[in-house]
Symmetry: C3
Subunit: 88 residues, 3 copies
């Protein structure tokens, strides 16, 4: 199990949420703010099996709009190893 932490623009929330849940991915959305431009961003927590990481990242890349400014990216992604995953 890996935990993907993905930071996307608020405007991409609906498209990304649909793309991930349609493919049976589980995701939790957290409202957040970019430190530099102070604009609305969403931080997504997505717990996936190790071999599903690339598929989840492809779905995020394809469902985010191409950013207008040249130096901005669609999404910032951290993948973390999970020591233990459980549902109570």
């Amino acid at each position: 199990m890996k935990l993907i932490i993905a930071i996307i623009k608020d405007e991409d929330n609906d498209a990304v949420s649909k793309a991930l849940t349609n493919e049976k991915f589980r995701v939790t959305f957290i409202a957040s703010t970019g430190g530099f431009l102070r604009s609305g961003r969403s931080t997504l927590l997505i717990g996936v099996e190790d071999e599903q990481v690339e598929k989840a990242l492809d779905l995020i890349r394809e469902s985010c709009k191409k950013p207008e400014k040249p130096q901005e990216k669609r999404a910032t992604i951290f993948v973390l190893k999970v020591d233990k995953f459980t549902q109570l």
Copy 2:
């Protein structure tokens, strides 16, 4: 030190917060939204000593209400190894 990331229903916030802080656990609450049902969830950050993980999970399990829908769980839990913990 381990970092527990626990996703619970908003309605369980007060009971879980009391249960954890009464037992001297430290916890930070983050408002969040489930990707599928779009309902209110809380993401808890709980930094604990390695040998305290199971006790914290027991407290969460016992203080969350039993979900109504059969496929829903009380809490979704990710336990991450912490490389460094400090307070400035």
Copy 3:
């Protein structure tokens, strides 16, 4: 790449944000609440190169106001190893 998760008081947000972004650090802010005092806290996600961790922590320590209550700290810090970092 390491992921710093820093929990600070809301009142220190502006000073910490300026200090980090002036030094070219990237940071995402998440509104949160302390479990015990129920007061406003911010959870910062700061992805940094391994050798930049200490510099980021120094900037946070120097830009937070000294807490009034003796047992309260300026910031609570978790540093996590990152398995994979990418921007899409």
